[in-house]
């Protein structure tokens, strides 16, 4: 079992709260060395960074043109629309205009982590346009002048320099006020009513969010990135020098039937050591020679907090040639970093030889000026947040962390209730809400979901109904559907692991029979425990007719694994299976391990393990995911996996390496064509239905998928032939969401059972979307997966779309149970990860029809 590879493939930022790279917030226009004005990164890693949301800069000026265009900034500046608002895809789909709800299964009572926002009856937000004569340049000054007239405007107001929002209507439609500036200049201020915004207007929604942030500040919470945390309830994990701050994510949006706040418990992992401490430790551990390389790999991409302000910066680079004694231009003088921090913040820098960190400032300078260039940060004054890749792979750290952060459904619901009651109890927070005539529900939203009927698993001539979301027990001793006979295969091992390798071989033979896998004895090959000699052994022994290569690795060193996979996926295409010797060193568990390995070997060679009933004919399911390399060259890898047969047991897989600034779909278009051609070869016809499950779409990137990717997919299909027009559905799959559901059984709060579908109340009115809880978790709260059907000409009923999606979650062959996402997405994730992490090149096309990357 490739424990290592699999452990890694769990990937970054699941489970623990590490600030997502996109979440790094505004950066202070801090010391920026004029010389190093590197080209600002416009598009990073193929993502749409400054997503051109529905709000454009010039729209702010067209005030009366319709409120949907107006953007309300918290403190001006650019804000990304993380909520993917204003994208209305449902209206184009006739068959879900009236209802997008399914009907199968039985009802289940749930609560969700949503709180309704209640406003006074007939509540309206009044939008005014404010004109200054003579015009005032400075926004500060404009606010100051306007706020002189408090008796007129009242204490509840929000003004961003041009637009004024009030909860109450002024007496006249147009009010003229007079102010005098410091210089004695008379200014006439004209306040004109331009709009009355109903509670559901997008501006109001933005406004609620801003108001809510104010309330969190009133509760003395610390903002880090987008969320707020409570340092007073910090949890320590001293053995790893970690501190966890509990906090909340909140987002207020218009959902199906009302405006609600979705709030979830979030944990921020912080470190109680500075970046300098970290660097010194690392240097001691890895030595002077390898330090720069390792240090860059560990630090780049991490988010830091500074000692002198509350901003977060992402480390983009390390300036090895800079120290605190370098200078930058401040005003019109040159000043050293050391002196700057001394005079400005009274902070003494003790280590004058430390190198500096570079953070590219993406925010525009004052008055829309270009970004002031990269900020240079002093390691001694910075604290790390989140976890490094190395820590993520350390299962001891992760175990200790999850023991502190994992919350059972009951605890989670308790925390959420406490949060809202804290707001209700805080007089200042209440005063702020009252001022605007708003309040919150006191209880979590109650709603009804449905539990879909269980799926029957077909395995060869037998079939069974698994009692839980797992059938590893049921499938024991039953032959799989098909498994190619294993006649010519090799096993590589080191002298030290000779016994383990022999034991594995014997056990594999023992377990293969009942599973219906015919297995000849492997050719055993010993290799020296060195990367080069392993590679040489592979080159000398793997031939044209080799069907499978098993490598027993003595440790989980990445370099050996990488070279095995590189050689066998690219140069010499043969499916391979790596096993770490420790995994097979315990006789008690060897049977279990060998069974898993036998199954894995079988499907890597094109075997089919089980299937579920798929009621649609001539259907091709496509899964797409991508992997973003945070370090080397910042390339992204897109992977596409497409089904080739009716039972969804054979798949075609392709990946593309995509360079900075390129859209992921450009390359995947070719992959989709290739998949269609392969389908034609397999079935003698093209599919009449195509359903694309697109994973890996970040917050705020939906617009790109809608505007660009769908058109690309349609183009690609058209190119197959003039009269070929299959039915097409495109579904965006999202795993990292903050919605949570709790089921109530006999007065106890539990996770919803697998197969729970939610398609009312907490969905969005402008989308055709639903949630499915497909997997089952042993501890902690289960997180549902969100499906958003962006495009659908299939005419498939919502109920069938939901059930098909759930069926596909049963088809991931590396797990004898139900997974979180449809199998093709999980396959695509696996492939992208292997390519991005280990082989760094496109795999050999001879492997396209095999699940070689499992």
């Amino acid at each position: 079992m490739t424990g290592r590879a699999r452990a890694r493939s769990r990937g970054r930022a699941r489970g623990q709260e590490t600030a997502a790279p996109g979440a790094s917030k505004a950066v202070e226009p801090a010391p920026a060395p004029a010389a190093a004005a590197a080209a600002a990164e416009l598009v990073g890693r193929g993502r749409q960074k400054g997503a051109p949301g529905p709000f454009s800069a010039e729209a702010v000026l067209q005030i009366s043109a319709g409120f949907q265009q107006v953007k309300l900034g918290e403190r001006g500046g650019r804000r990304r629309d993380f909520q993917d608002g204003g994208i209305n895809t449902r209206q184009a789909m006739e068959h879900v205009k009236d209802s997008k709800s399914g009907s199968s299964g039985h009802a289940i009572q749930l609560t969700a982590n949503f709180f309704r926002i209640i406003s006074r009856p007939q509540w309206v937000l009044y939008q005014y346009h404010v004109d200054f004569n003579p015009p005032m340049e400075s926004r500060r000054l404009r606010s100051a002048l306007l706020y002189h007239h408090e008796e007129m405007l009242g204490s509840a107001r929000s003004f961003d320099g041009a637009l004024l929002f009030l909860p109450n209507r002024l007496q006249n439609k147009e009010t003229v006020l007079h102010s005098v500036t410091k210089n004695g200049e008379n200014v006439q201020i004209t306040v004109t009513l331009t709009n009355e915004l109903p509670p559901t207007s997008p501006v109001c929604i933005q406004f609620y969010n801003i108001l809510f942030r104010r309330i969190l500040r009133i509760l003395d919470m610390q903002q880090i990135g987008r969320n707020y945390y409570n340092p007073k309830d910090a949890l320590n994990i001293p053995q790893h020098r970690l501190t966890i701050w509990p906090g909340y994510t909140t987002a207020i949006l218009e959902y199906e039937s009302s405006i609600m706040m979705c709030t979830d418990v979030s944990h921020k992992v912080l470190r109680s050591e500075t970046v300098l401490d970290f660097m010194v430790n690392l240097r001691q551990k890895c030595g002077e020679h390898r330090f720069p390389e390792i240090c860059t790999k560990e630090l780049v991409g991490l988010i830091v907090l500074t000692k002198y302000n509350n901003k977060t910066y992402k480390i983009d680079d390390i300036a090895w040639d800079h120290t605190p004694n370098n200078t930058f231009t401040r005003g019109d003088k040159e000043i050293t970093f050391r002196n700057y921090y001394k005079t400005q913040y009274n902070l003494e820098i003790t280590d004058g030889n430390q190198v500096l960190l570079v953070s590219h400032v993406k925010r525009l300078g004052p008055a829309g000026a270009p970004p002031p260039g990269p900020a240079m940060l002093i390691p001694e004054l910075c604290y790390l947040t989140g976890l490094t890749d190395k820590m993520m792979n350390d299962h001891i750290i992760m175990k200790d962390l999850s023991s502190q952060t994992r919350l059972e459904p009951e605890q989670r619901q308790g925390r959420l209730n406490r949060f809202v009651s804290n707001i209700q109890k805080n007089p200042d927070a209440q005063a702020e809400l009252d001022k605007w005539g708003l309040s919150f529900d006191k209880e979590l939203l109650r709603l009804t979901g449905r539990v879909l009927p269980g799926e029957r698993i077909f395995q060869g001539s037998r079939s069974y109904d698994p009692p839980a979301a797992d059938w590893s027990r049921e499938m024991r001793g039953i032959p799989v559907i098909t498994a190619p006979p294993l006649n010519n295969w090799l096993m590589f091992y080191t002298r030290r692991n000779g016994n383990e390798a022999q034991a594995l071989l014997q056990t594999l033979n023992k377990v293969a029979g009942p599973l219906g896998i015919r297995m000849q004895r492997a050719v055993m090959i010993e290799y020296q425990d060195q990367q080069e000699s392993l590679l040489r052994a592979l080159q000398q022994n793997v031939g044209q007719h080799t069907q499978m290569v098993v490598v027993v690795l003595p440790s989980n060193r990445k370099d050996k694994y990488d070279s095995v996979k590189k050689f066998l996926c690219v140069d010499c295409p043969v499916p391979s299976q790596c096993v770490i010797s420790r995994t097979i060193s315990r006789p008690q568990t060897l049977m279990t391990v060998a069974t898993k390995i036998a199954l894995q070997i079988a499907c890597k060679m094109g075997g089919e393990l089980w299937s579920v009933e798929i009621p649609l004919k001539q259907l091709m399911i496509v899964g797409i995911d991508c992997y973003h390399d945070t370090t080397a060259g910042k390339r992204s890898i897109g992977a596409l996996v497409a089904s080739l047969n009716q039972s969804m047991s054979r798949w075609f897989s392709k990946c593309v390496l995509q360079n900075k600034g390129q859209e992921i779909m450009d390359g995947l278009k070719m992959a989709l064509s290739a998949a269609l051609k392969e389908y034609l070869k397999f079935n003698n016809c093209l599919p009449s239905r195509i359903i694309v499950y697109r994973d890996g779409v970040g917050d705020g990137q939906l617009q790109t998928v809608v505007n660009y990717e769908i058109a690309q997919i349609i183009d690609c299909i058209k190119s197959m032939g003039q009269d070929y027009s299959p039915k097409l559905s495109v579904v965006v799959v999202k795993k990292r969401i903050s919605s949570r559901f709790f089921a109530h059984f006999n007065g106890k709060i539990n996770n919803p059972p697998p197969g729970t579908v939610i398609d009312t109340e907490v969905t969005r009115p402008e989308w055709y979307d639903f949630f499915i809880v497909s997997q089952s978790v042993r501890s902690g709260s289960v997180s549902p997966t969100h499906y958003n059907v962006l495009y659908d000409t299939s005419g498939l009923k919502p109920d069938h779309m939901q059930r098909l999606t759930y069926k596909l979650c049963h088809m991931y062959y590396n797990w004898q149970g139900i997974v979180r996402v449809p199998a093709p997405c999980q396959y695509a994730h696996k492939l992208a990860f292997l390519v991005g992490e280990n082989i760094h090149r496109e795999h050999n096309m001879h492997l396209d029809n095999l699940l070689f990357y499992l």
């Binding site: 424990g3 039985h106 340092p231 009692p467 089952s776």
Partner: protein, 418 residues
């Protein structure tokens, strides 16, 4: 237009105060007319200040930016020894409030010119006569400079009630000095172009007042009021996390101790397992509950190599407990080893006795019965568990009660739903 002053004048005034604070290190500082707290925001970095208080008549203005005075995230991550408490009040400088007495420094930057002359009198009485701080910094515009300001007619700000010449300022200041027992020194910021210096003076004139030491002062002043008056409204008050707070100290110390205990433990375990592999020497084990000390004191004055050895000997003091399945459960790390190994632990606790006392109250740290050692649990590398977690993060199994009523579901024609 070219800025007249570089850095801007308001910043120069603040810098003047900052420099004064740096030189004199007043523990308690009060800023009158703090407005949006911009001066306080700079002063909070000077941790010799323990109490930083702002007062302004306009509470709304103060509230607007006051949260910027809160500790930043990193203040919680590594609390310092210095204490700092920030308080903000709404109120008038012409009224008394007992909470603002006895400060080391009171600043009044560009404030008095906004008061009527009658209120300036009351201001003197309240500040010099009632608050009686050790030092006061008063800045106000110097109207002799005004002709040099381009395009200026009248006062510099519409709300100014007066703008004084150097002589007027001096006479007010000297009067206050003689009345309330202070001495004053005149200076300013915003130098005019060379040549004008003598004729106009600084753009902002500043008086630095110091209280003259008079033996009977404090007594008589204290007796003035029979009762303490509280006329100001407290808007905001926050304590910075500090190691002087025993709870915080205990938390930080506890974390540090556990970190090092863990580190020492793994170093020792590595060493032990190395020995076992090398010589197959039997490890001394004990049944749970029984106490057996294998203490061998090391001789001092050893060479470099022996120092290593010494450590080894010391390690033998670790007690090991054995549970039924012969795997180690916990290791005890003696406090004196911790004390001598990690400098931060010793600085934080001050003395070994203090360390023990602090740890005893810490619920996160488990001490041995005699309180001489920290007990650390052993992480047995649990393969089984690792394997279980091996697959998809959230997958696992749990006998979910699945209703299978619809097992015999009728054949549906999905295609027909088009």
């Amino acid at each position: 237009m070219e800025p007249l002053f570089n850095p801007p004048l308001h910043r120069q005034r603040h810098q003047f105060v900052v420099d004064f604070v740096k030189r004199n290190k007043p523990p308690k500082v009060l800023d009158l007319g703090c407005s949006e707290c911009s001066l306080m925001k700079r002063l909070k970095f000077h941790r010799e200040v323990h109490l930083l208080v702002g007062l302004d008549i306009d509470g709304t203005k103060v509230k607007k930016k006051m949260r910027a005075l809160a500790p930043v995230s990193t203040d919680y991550l590594q609390p310092s020894y210095d204490q700092l408490c920030v308080e903000l009040y709404e109120g008038s400088v012409t009224e008394r409030d007992a909470r603002l007495r006895g400060f080391d420094l009171v600043t009044s930057i560009e404030l008095i010119e906004h008061l009527t002359l009658a209120d300036v009198e009351r201001f003197s009485e309240v500040v010099f006569g009632y608050m009686t701080p050790a030092a006061v910094i008063v800045s106000t515009p110097n109207c002799e400079y005004n002709p040099l300001l381009p395009g200026l007619r009248g006062f510099r700000h519409s709300d100014h009630k007066f703008e004084w010449s150097r002589a007027e300022f001096k006479s007010w200041a000297l009067k206050a000095c003689s009345e309330f027992g202070y001495e004053v020194e005149f200076t300013g910021v915003g130098q005019p172009a060379s040549g004008y210096q003598e004729s106009v003076g600084f753009c902002s004139q500043i008086g630095v007042f110091r209280r003259l030491e008079r033996g009977d002062d404090s007594n008589t002043l204290g007796g003035d009021d029979a009762e303490d008056v509280f006329s100001y409204k407290l808007l905001y008050s926050i304590n910075y996390p500090s190691l002087c707070d025993n709870n915080i100290l205990r938390r930080v110390l506890g974390s540090e101790v556990l970190y090092w205990a863990e580190k020492l433990k793994s170093r020792w375990m590595e060493k032990k397992s190395g020995e076992v592999n090398a010589s197959c020497a039997p490890i001394e084990t004990e049944e749970e509950g029984e106490e057996k000390h294998t203490v061998s004191q090391c001789e001092s004055g050893a060479s470099e190599d022996q120092e290593e050895e010494d450590e080894g000997v010391r390690w033998t003091r670790f007690q090991r407990r054995q549970d039924s399945c012969t795997s180690l459960r916990c290791v005890s790390v003696p406090l004196d080893v911790l004390w001598s190994c990690c400098p931060r632990v010793s600085t934080l606790s001050g003395s070994l006795g203090n360390l023990r006392r602090l740890l005893m109250d810490d619920p996160d740290v488990e001490l041995s019965q005699d309180g001489d050692a920290v007990l650390v649990n052993c992480h047995e590398q649990d393969l089984e568990e690792e394997e279980a977690q091996d697959e998809l993060e959230d997958s696992g199994y749990e006998p979910a009660s699945r209703h299978h009523s619809a097992a015999a579901e009728q054949e549906e024609d999905w295609e027909a739903s088009v």
